[in-house]
């Protein structure tokens, strides 16, 4: 029988913490939600797999807390932690590229899942753009290791939330894509993989956040032998 909490990818946590999270999902007021939010944020910065889906568990806890007692302790603490990390992002990036990429993945995931009355959180729009733009700056495309991590993250996020982001702030998306075009055209020594990813995302946006059938075939079909 399937355990629904597997969907939240919490297997990477130790068993006690898994218990804590499961309880938070069902009965938020019985746990220390500040601690829960810290646990989730901390893990998101370490575990890329988790960071890609952590928005989901956040969403469920937020809903559960609101329903149970109209509270927003979890959301408030989680957002403020995110803000704290955002403020120190350059230092984080300098310290660990992996952590930085995990952070961007996580904040984009939160932006995707945590809506306020079905609208994106306005407070996160600029920070998300700041993060994505940072991933496209020339210094992020310089060496092979950096490029791979940064561009991978960037195109994944744009696939997931690009359309929403553009809707809430189109000029900044233009700003981002100026950088992407520059990167594609001007960045010396860019690997072919990186160029492929950039070309695909350029086409994706140009197609209204959709790849045409033929383009999809080009990028995603198995090459027939």
């Amino acid at each position: 029988m399937e355990n629904p909490t597997d969907d939240y990818k919490i297997q990477s946590f130790d068993l006690d913490t898994q218990m804590l999270l499961k309880t938070a999902l069902k009965d938020p007021s019985s746990v220390n939600l500040v601690k829960v939010s810290n646990v989730i944020v901390d893990q998101s910065l370490k575990d890329q797999v988790f960071s890609k889906e952590a928005g989901r568990i956040c969403y469920t806890i937020v809903q559960a807390e609101a329903k149970q007692n109209n509270g927003s302790v979890f959301r408030r603490n989680m957002l403020n932690r995110l803000q704290q990390e955002f403020k120190n992002r350059e230092e984080m990036r300098g310290r660990s590229l992996q952590e930085w990429v995990c952070y961007v993945t996580f904040i984009c995931n939160v932006f995707d899942y945590l809506k306020v009355n079905n609208m994106p959180m306005v407070a996160l729009v600029h920070p998300v753009y700041d993060c994505l733009i940072r991933l496209a700056k020339p210094d992020a495309l310089m060496n092979e290791e950096e490029v791979r991590k940064n561009v991978d993250c960037l195109v994944l996020q744009l696939h997931r939330i690009g359309e929403q982001l553009e809707k809430v702030n189109s000029p900044r998306m233009d700003e981002l894509f100026f950088l992407l075009r520059d990167g594609f055209l001007l960045q010396e020594g860019l690997s072919s993989m990186a160029r492929l990813l950039l070309l695909e995302i350029l086409e994706f946006r140009a197609g209204g956040w959709l790849l045409s059938g033929t383009a999809h075939k080009y990028y995603y079909s198995e090459i027939a032998d």
Binding site: S29, N32, N77, Q84, K87, N117
Partner: protein, 278 residues
């Protein structure tokens, strides 16, 4: 400016604050939530329900005279008009959307509602000509401010207990506190006074305090409202423009000595005593 640093300082403090404890204020046992939004009492949560006001107050207390304390905080709190931390921004956003929805609802249901209200209106909500559907308060800033004040009142254990004890259809006008109607046109002073009296009335449903201090009459004296309680709330002609300090209310009933005139003056002239916390 130091918006970001203020935010991060607060955030950095969170982990320490989590595990320290501040003495509850006289009023804090009536509040359903602490400043960080966590529920108080009735819970066995560690580190969840601490009153964070004390932290802010230690940072800002140099700017405020001691008499500037609101009933619901342990001390002076910062009063920036826009909180920089994401948590607050999102909550404000949420509240704004809620108010907009309320406005839409009110516009659609307006005529019907004012008919009903005319029949059951209580004396304390004041008689204004805004009972016609087309004369409602529409200024967003005003509605948001009022909603915030209402939220502070509803965010109390007293309110929770009140609504459980007295269902809406059992409420008697004049006897049971009624939430002021944010869509009616009132002068600023009239509205603030209604809110104040509404909250004082709600204290009747305060949970019994362990230290036996929580006496409704004590509370009224503390606010210096003892002599003001009897005044009819009816200021239809007063202008709304500013919040000038007013001792006017004190002289209306002919008495000029209250136990704590300074405090009353300060609370009268205070723009948003509760707006500051978040």
């Amino acid at each position: 400016m130091s918006d970001w640093t203020r935010g991060s300082r607060r955030d950095a403090n969170n982990s320490e604050i989590e595990n320290s404890s501040y003495g509850p204020s006289r009023w804090s046992n009536c509040r359903k939530r602490g400043i960080d939004g966590s529920l108080r009492a009735d819970r066995g949560v560690d580190g969840g329900e601490k009153d964070l006001h004390a932290d802010s107050s230690s940072r800002h207390s140099d700017k405020r005279p001691e008499s500037f304390t609101t009933p619901e905080s342990t001390g002076p709190v910062s009063r920036c008009s826009r909180q920089a931390d994401w948590g607050s921004q999102v909550e404000d956003d949420e509240m704004r959307r809620g108010v907009h929805r309320d406005m839409q609802r009110r516009r659609i249901l307006g005529a019907e509602v004012t008919q009903r209200e005319r029949k059951t209106s209580s004396g304390s909500s004041g008689s204004c000509d805004s009972k016609e559907g087309d004369n409602m308060e529409t200024d967003e800033a005003v509605l948001l401010r009022r909603q915030k004040q209402i939220n502070y009142g509803k965010n109390t254990l007293a309110y929770d207990r009140y609504i459980k004890e007295v269902p809406k259809h059992m409420r008697q006008s004049g006897v049971h506190p009624k939430t002021p109607n944010k869509f009616r046109k009132y002068s600023r002073r009239s509205w603030d006074q209604q809110i104040k009296l509404w909250k004082v009335k709600l204290h009747t449903w305060d949970p019994p305090a362990e230290d036996g201090q929580d006496n409704v009459l004590d509370n009224i004296e503390e606010l210096g409202l003892g002599d003001v309680m009897d005044i009819e709330l009816d200021f239809p002609n007063l202008s709304d423009s500013q919040n000038a300090p007013t001792t006017h209310i004190l002289s209306l009933d002919g008495e000029d000595c209250l136990g704590t005139p300074v405090k009353v003056q300060k609370t009268e002239s205070t723009v948003e005593p509760e707006m500051s916390s978040s």
